[in-house]
Amino acid sequence: MPVLVAGGVLALGGVVAIPLGGWDTVQLQSAVIPEQPIGQPYVGARLSTAIDDIYLTDEHPDGFSDPDPGETWLVVVATMENLLDEPEIPLGNRSFWAFTIPGVLELGVSLDSGSYSTLLQRDGSYGPRLQPGVPDTVEFVFAVSDRLFSEGDEVRIGLTDAEKQDADIYDGIRWWRPHVAVEVPVVIRDER
């Protein structure tokens, strides 16, 4: 008898789900990535990061680098603070980029060293390292196809986070399970 009741409840649930689009339309709530407004810092274990701006330009912020034919520069401006006890590179590395941009920068995917650069906005110095507790605004410049984005496109920049653990086989930090913690929806400007 209990088996029949349970089966009936399941069958009824299935029938009710059909007009609602079926079970595939239900999104697992734990997989929903929260949104973060532009300009508002997300505080992770490694960095506090606020995305301030994103734009396309043919003029590199360094004033002299030219894009290759068919390419343009995608510039992401972010205000960051290093929350560690050591100086830190703002962009991080392939296993734990500070943020993601669909089609440009993904966790676990390397970038060619010549395809991006990082500058401190206040004086244009190259390859800054963030000192602990000293926030600053950084410009990240990526070489992208000039057809990848256009004015008014919305992209969702993912701000990443991970669990900080002591490394096992060497002295230092191991970042466990880097993931996109929040997404910042931003509209691309075109300065070309």
């Binding site: 006890d85 050591e86 100086p87 401190l120 206040r122 004086d123 110095s125 390859g127 800054p128 390292r129 000192q131 602990p132 507790g133 000293v134 926030p135 600053d136 002295d171």
Partner: protein, 186 residues
Amino acid sequence: MRARVAVPAGVGLVLLAFGATLFTPTDEVRMAPFPVAAGIGEEVASQHHVATIHEVALADVVELDGWRGTTSGVWLVAEATLAGYVERTTVGVDLFVDGVRFESTPRADSDTVDGRVVDPGLPVTGAILLELPRDILDRPGATSAVLRLGAAGDTRLDSVIEWRIDLTALEHHAEVELDRVRKGAP
């Protein structure tokens, strides 16, 4: 008789194991560099460098050969004379405040004495610049910060020179104009 000995012996061995675990030095201690302590104005030598720090201060803005260095924090500015000891060597400078490490800035390009190479018998004098948090003076350890000079990169088990500095006792300038690196001592 054997049982009367075995129990205390077992307990003793367990305590010994705890003690061994407790007193085993950490990697940080086992791999620590060998420091030569120095005072401001005193010439000292490590295995790599001969160095004198003449003056240390804090500043909100620094000017160096046309570069205007601003920061959301505060600058630690030191004037130093450096030379290699026995061979050409690199220069790296860090400041430690309560376990937090700050490194000297490369933002002024090669106009500072750190981040370059120095040769024996050919001293150079110039600035060392470090960016520190705005609230650094309120942090624990601000009265006993350690400025460490060594070869650039990994200083584990290496020879370094260290200056203990009370950051709260330093002069704090709104703006400081610094000289470029020059040959010789001041």
